[in-house]
Symmetry: C2
Subunit: 518 residues, 2 copies
């Protein structure tokens, strides 16, 4: 028996003990615990972690003395004990929750503006590559990372992962080529897996990665299932799936930075039915006592994001031309946060989903942000070493990520939590604070001109209020103060694409610097 | 009495005679003629042209001996005579007609691919400016020009026109400013017009301009009514409108390069009803015996382009983001040629309709062309002299017009008449000849990648046919031959935006130069 006497609130309290190893400890025995403080009583399932060790993890949500009572089916012994959940360090804000209907905040109330990127199997690469990815992430400012628990078989990603989730041996991948790989997608021949035996090293490694991300302030948007498979992991039986989901939930739920993405492109998983997805959702709701964020990502048709278990939309755009521009509609339709987990990637692949410019990527980010949605990033640049950020992580090669970081800084200056779209002029994308009272009080307007190139814009809100005006070059990442105005005023612009204007109620009377335009 | 003894087929035969001038010759008298050859009998109305002169114009559609019989209500005399309609010169292909449902051809069968631009009141500027515009047009390769018969009152266009269509005096325009001009839109005070008295010099000048354009191979897309008015021309009575329309039709119909645009932004003309528009359409159908092309242009809601008198759609895009991309839908809906008479203008105005980049303009041109539609150009660059191409003509300052010329060259190489969209891959815009048999026979594919930047694309049509492949850089205006391939083949691309690939059945067996990609 092993456990700490204190953990920070929202950190992982982990209890471990030895137990029986006869038979199949993954399936033959169970372990679970009940954790009590004056504010909560939580029941959690533990899991077998190999080498005769069973573990139970728990995330305390209160600063309090907790007692626990843990019992495994492998013995009659009841483990009891207590620990202190202490006040969190400054960087620990708790798990992310939805807030203000369309937005997010950490449990401690700190607003959270997701700027995510995707590196599908970064954690299944070599140590050196993983270190490189972490270094890139630290530099980038991304605060959400979308990745898969299971290995990925797909164009540009035909290599072996560093480990597999189950004991067994994979098919011979030396026969795979760029030309034939699709024939092996969804094929199970040549693989020999014991789906009843988890490879604990695989999960231990992922936990280490989740924790590293947590320390960097990055949410781990875990893709639990996906169709890019040559091993049969996407075609397990219902029972095997259930075991897999429960194992994942028991291991990862106590990490505060975990989000559940049931699948990437769920609709491409032809062996799964809607009933299956609803069943997995039920498993999450039953086995994750902390209510981590839950969603499911589409290729073509959206999942029905009105389902009550879905906390936020995870959207892959359906249209070649319009992606972020549809955030307004989706907000109305789903009344949940709109996270755009694929709006195409900056790159130069052959495919339309992976070859937009950095400028277009940043434009889609601003369009989404100013409509009250949350865009996601990815990079797919072909290169000699075959390492693509979107799949492997590694080094960021593009130009959009820097501007995403800059946008995040602007988003964080929103009064209250979250931006809402405001109908202003037909040819401007205008955001105001979601909270109407704050919007009125602050006069905050973030106005984006996208691909348009106005040389000036005229404004009128009222006759008496002074407004400070800044011109933002979203590409050059500059913010320029232009003066304080009232009544009708005109803002000169450089006649370039990707400009924004930020207008805020002035703290004191200003000085009209220029109000006459062309 | 005056008339020529011969004219070219599709040129204007003009008869003139003296008649009574008492009262109001514009309304008190009529003159009409009947023209006969072995192939046609055509009745046309003439008009009073001032100074006691009445004219009757006729466009012969056949090479034949024509006799005519002309009579005015101002006397009992019947003028009879004959003339020869001779074979047309090489540059004279006759009026433009719709062809192949979605396309256009001259009456002699020569395909006509419209690449139009808009200079609303170029012809109402000074002689010097008009000459400059004509020089620019000659250099540009545009083959359709959209402009107004009536003067224009609008932002950046507050000056006096060189002439007015009616006798009288206009309001004092010295009081107009950029700030107050909108208050005078649709106001009639201060104007003193006699709507029963046409200013013949105004119309004579426009005829001269139409004829000059004709000699340059440019169609005159005449906007007969519009809402940008401070003189009251948009608020005449039903009777006055009818008189205006009949006068316009009698004067201009015989010019083979005339198209009728009933209005620009018809829906902004608040004093006109749907019944009014249908009535004007009826007047055209009754008074233009040559069946010139007819359409009507919207601001927001489209006119019902299924109306039988509408020969082609004249569309202003309704969406900020999608314009040309919707050509496919409109083709299905209207089954007529889709002319995009406003997809925003290259420029840097404050307004979203007038500040897109040259790159975006050219992209919209290619999108439209590869979907079997016909995009239109315009330029709105602010500049010190206040001369904007979109309104005044003058000098082209942008970068898109050159690329439009290049695209026109590509369009003209289409087998048969017109391109049709083909569903190929979701991330390519693919055009094939409209004629299915020709499409099959020629294997002609024009594939556009828009804002995407593929580094290569793979193709497979069949195993046995050899195809020649060209890579087109639509921005740099280059076409590069890449070889002749069969079976599966791969085309390397530079990973840049705005690239196209043209594939055609080879004349003879080729040589596979490279078929292996990244």
């Amino acid at each position: 028996m092993n456990y700490p006497l204190s953990v920070e609130k929202w950190d992982v309290f982990e209890f471990s003990c030895e137990g029986r190893t006869e038979g199949n400890p993954f399936s033959d025995y169970e372990i679970c615990g009940i954790f009590r403080s004056s504010q909560e009583t939580v029941r959690v399932n533990g899991f077998y972690d190999g080498n005769g060790i069973y573990r139970v993890r728990f995330m305390p949500s209160f600063e309090a003395t907790y007692t626990f009572c843990i019992q495994g089916t492998f013995s009659d012994r009841v483990y009891q004990g207590s620990f202190e959940a202490t006040s969190p360090e400054q960087s620990n804000h708790g798990p992310v929750r939805t807030a203000n209907t369309y937005h997010f905040a950490y449990e401690d109330g700190t607003p959270y503006y997701p700027v995510g990127t995707t590196c599908y199997v970064w954690e299944l690469q070599s140590d050196e590559r993983i270190d490189e990815t972490l270094k890139s992430l630290a530099e980038s400012g991304f605060n959400k990372l979308r990745f898969c628990i299971l290995p990925k078989h797909y164009d540009y990603n035909l290599g072996e992962p560093r480990s597999y989730p189950f004991e067994g041996t994979p098919m011979d991948s030396s026969i795979l080529t760029k030309e034939n790989f699709l024939q092996y997608t969804g094929k199970t021949e040549g693989n020999h897996w014991d789906f009843s035996q988890f490879n604990t090293a695989h999960f231990q490694h992922i936990e280490k990665c989740i924790l590293t991300l947590q320390k960097m302030g990055i949410e781990a948007d875990l893709i639990v299932m996906h169709p890019y498979d040559r091993w049969g992991f996407s075609q397990m039986t219902g029972e095997q799936d259930e075991q897999y989901w429960k194992y994942v939930l028991a291991r990862f739920s106590a990490y505060r930075n975990v989000w559940w993405s049931l699948a990437n492109e769920y609709d491409l998983m032809e062996h799964k039915t809607l009933e299956d997805w609803e069943f997995y959702a039920k498993l999450i709701c039953e086995n994750d006592p902390y209510g981590h964020l839950r969603s499911i990502h589409n290729c073509r048709p959206f999942y029905d994001h009105t389902r009550p278990w879905i906390t936020h939309c995870s959207i892959q755009r359906q249209d070649l031309y319009k992606s972020s521009e549809l955030v307004n509609e989706w907000r109305i339709r789903y009344r949940k946060p709109i996270v755009l987990d694929e709006i195409a990637y900056e790159g130069n692949l052959q495919h339309g989903w992976g070859n937009i410019t950095a400028e277009e990527m940043v434009r889609r980010f601003w369009e989404a942000a100013c409509r009250g949605g949350y865009p996601g990033h990815g990079e797919t640049y072909l290169n000699e070493d075959g390492v693509l950020w979107w799949s492997h992580g590694g080094r960021l090669r593009g130009e959009s990520w820097k501007r995403v970081h800059f946008l995040h800084g602007i988003m964080c200056q929103t009064p209250g939590i979250g931006l809402a779209p405001k109908e202003q002029e037909w040819d401007e994308i205008c955001a105001v604070p979601e909270d109407e009272q704050l919007a009125a009080k602050t006069g905050y307007h973030l106005i984006y001109y996208s691909f348009m190139r106005p040389s000036f814009r005229e404004f009128y809100f009222d006759d008496s209020t002074w407004y400070t005006v800044e011109v933002i070059d979203t590409w050059e990442m500059t913010t320029e103060y232009r003066g304080t105005f009232k009544g009708r005023f005109c803002v000169e612009l450089p006649g370039k694409q990707y400009m924004a204007i930020r207008i805020r109620r002035a703290q004191q009377d200003g000085r009209e610097i220029s109000s006459h335009c062309h």
